[in-house]
């Protein structure tokens, strides 16, 4: 279960400053920021994110989640909605990396990624790394996720579209084909979405192996470090913290009822 990787990333958590180096508008709704980060924060893995603070003011109070979609040299690329203007040269406080890497199984050669009603940003780094390792990757954009800018996706990626109910024509075929599935659905509908997904997969695969069906949990995280207990996920067997044990959870372990 790549425990050593997790240990080491846990150890590298830091609250450091980063500088915005470049701001690119990707679409009406999206912009991408290249930021120069502290060396300890460079080694971020797919699934991990940062909690960012841009102001000395207490309003807004909470840090915002910044999800890296690419890492290159000193710099990370972050995807943000276009609501706020960022300036090159602006300094941002980054706390992280938060959470554990998405546990991609060594045997995975065909990977199905599903983004429900949200930007697929938290799946992009995983997709690029998997493609680079010659894994076949299919991404399904479901519901509101269909509005995502196609140009912003890697060209090698097969992209499908699902309707608001979370269904798409190739669904059964995809479930049969995939060696592993990783889905992202935003709160508050994450548990509902994942429950339906598990049901749908069960119809195709009689036996679902441990670690096969992964859901990302991204509730608001006040602390990001396991202290405030606000990000708890109810599990079959106790409870887990999204910021420490997640965001990637084996959906067989989660209480999806």
């Amino acid at each position: 279960m790549r425990l050593e990787v997790w240990r080491c990333t846990l150890g590298s958590m830091k609250d450091a400053q980063a500088i915005i180096e470049r701001v690119r508008r990707m679409s009406a709704a999206l912009q991408r920021l290249d930021i120069a980060v502290d060396s300890a924060q460079r080694s971020v893995a797919p699934g991990q994110h940062f909690l960012a603070r841009l102001t000395e003011s207490w309003d807004p109070y909470l840090r915002e989640p910044w999800i890296p979609i690419r890492q290159q040299g000193n710099s990370l690329t972050i995807e943000r909605p276009t609501g706020r203007n960022y300036q090159p040269g602006e300094v941002v406080h980054l706390l992280g990396p938060v959470g554990k890497p998405i546990p991609l199984r060594d045997s995975t050669r065909t990977l199905l990624l599903i983004a429900y009603d949200s930007t697929p940003a938290s799946l992009l780094m995983l997709a690029e790394q998997a493609l680079a390792a010659r894994t076949s990757v299919t991404m399904v954009l479901v519901g509101a996720a269909q509005g995502y800018a196609m140009e912003a996706l890697p060209p090698e990626l097969e992209v499908l579209r699902g309707d608001d109910k979370g269904e798409w024509p190739e669904q059964r075929a995809n479930f049969g084909w995939a060696d592993q599935i990783v889905a992202v659905a935003p709160p508050p509908h994450d548990v509902t979405r994942y429950g339906r997904l598990l049901e749908a997969v069960r119809k195709v695969r009689v036996e679902i192996p441990q670690g096969y069906l992964i859901g990302l949990f991204q509730p608001p995280m006040p602390c990001g470090i396991g202290a405030c207990q606000a990000c708890m996920i109810r599990c079959q067997n106790g409870q887990s913290l999204a910021c420490i044990d997640g965001p990637a959870m084996d959906l067989l372990d989660v209480a999806l009822g």
Binding site: P60, Y61, L62, C223, I225, M232, Q239
Partner: protein, 311 residues
């Protein structure tokens, strides 16, 4: 050293700045970001006798300058919590104060009894429900006192703190923490539902300081101020109002470095304010960035860098 509690076996701490219950977890969570040895103590998240599951539904609502949190006091129950954290509590760089939620006299008494036998626990903090009466205060304190020799802190709800303080003192509390965060209701932007929970933010400070000021004139035992502290000056205002020490709450989540800065500042360990560096990190030229230089023009360096750096 600061005597944090009255009584026969007072709890003494080396720094007046304490991490508040519910903000730093049960264990070493923040050691990766904060030098906990600089704090006077840390209060654990609340523990109950029976295990409690996390609240379902929305648990965080962002507020203007603050946050509403509704966790449901999740914990694995006293036995498992104590067992899981015993090793860290023994070697903790700062004294550990275990926060017990006052669910019933029976349960809190049993928790106290188990804690009494544990090494590494410096004191117990009793957390009361928002609707606690004089009678609840007396009974809960009595139940804990009957089962432990450990010093007892009682954290009172903000609204009723001035009404309950004298009862807590009479019942034998070693110190009073003023106050627990008040409860509020706000609309969850994601679901549109109205959510109730604890509310935190810098604006808690004037409310809590007022309660501290009222209570120090009523009781003789130490009063520990808590609520909305976000920088060293905030903490000093509580001391000016008569508090013996302070607990720092939600700022730890959003600016973890600030909690250490507050402790260092009140402990006299903040020496190189200008560069913002720690005393033991300071070296000549550290403060020479352009950004820092521009600040310097407004307010010149208050003191020269020390020639002898404390460890």
């Amino acid at each position: 050293m600061i005597e944090l509690t009255g009584g026969k076996q007072p709890l003494t701490v080396s720094n007046p700045v304490i991490a508040a219950a519910g903000t730093v977890g049960f264990n070493s969570e923040y050691t990766r970001l904060i030098d906990m040895s600089k704090l006077g103590a840390m209060v654990t998240n609340p523990v109950t006798w029976k295990p409690r599951r996390a609240a379902t539904g929305t648990r965080v609502v962002p507020l203007d300058s603050g946050i509403l949190v509704h966790t449901g006091l999740p914990n694995d129950g006293a036995h498992r919590v104590f067992r899981a954290n015993a090793a860290y509590w023994k070697m903790s760089p700062c004294p550990i104060i275990v926060h017990l939620a006052a669910t019933s006299t029976d349960e809190i008494g049993k928790c106290a009894k188990v804690l009494d036998m544990r090494d590494g626990v410096a004191a117990i903090e009793i957390g009361l429900s928002d609707t606690a009466t004089h009678r609840d205060v007396r009974l809960m304190i009595a139940a804990v006192l009957a089962n432990t020799e450990l010093p007892i802190l009682v954290r009172l709800p903000l609204y009723s703190a001035p009404l309950l303080a004298a009862a807590a003192e009479e019942a034998g509390a070693g110190a009073i923490v003023v106050a627990a965060p008040p409860r509020g209701t706000a609309r969850d932007p994601l679901t549109g539902q109205m959510i109730g929970g604890r509310v935190y933010g810098p604006w808690l400070k004037p409310l809590a300081i007022r309660a501290v000021g009222q209570i120090v004139s009523m009781v003789k035992i130490p009063v520990i101020g808590c609520g909305g502290i976000h920088n060293p000056d905030d903490a000093r205002e509580f001391l000016a109002a008569g508090a013996r020490a302070v607990q720092v709450d939600s700022v730890t989540w959003v600016r973890p470095d600030m909690t250490e800065i507050i402790a260092r500042n009140l402990g006299g360990l903040e020496l190189t304010r200008v560069a913002g560096a720690l005393a033991d990190e300071w070296h000549p030229g550290l403060g020479e960035t352009a950004a820092l230089r521009s600040q310097l023009i407004v307010s010149p360096p208050p003191i020269a860098p020390p020639t002898d750096l404390p460890r």
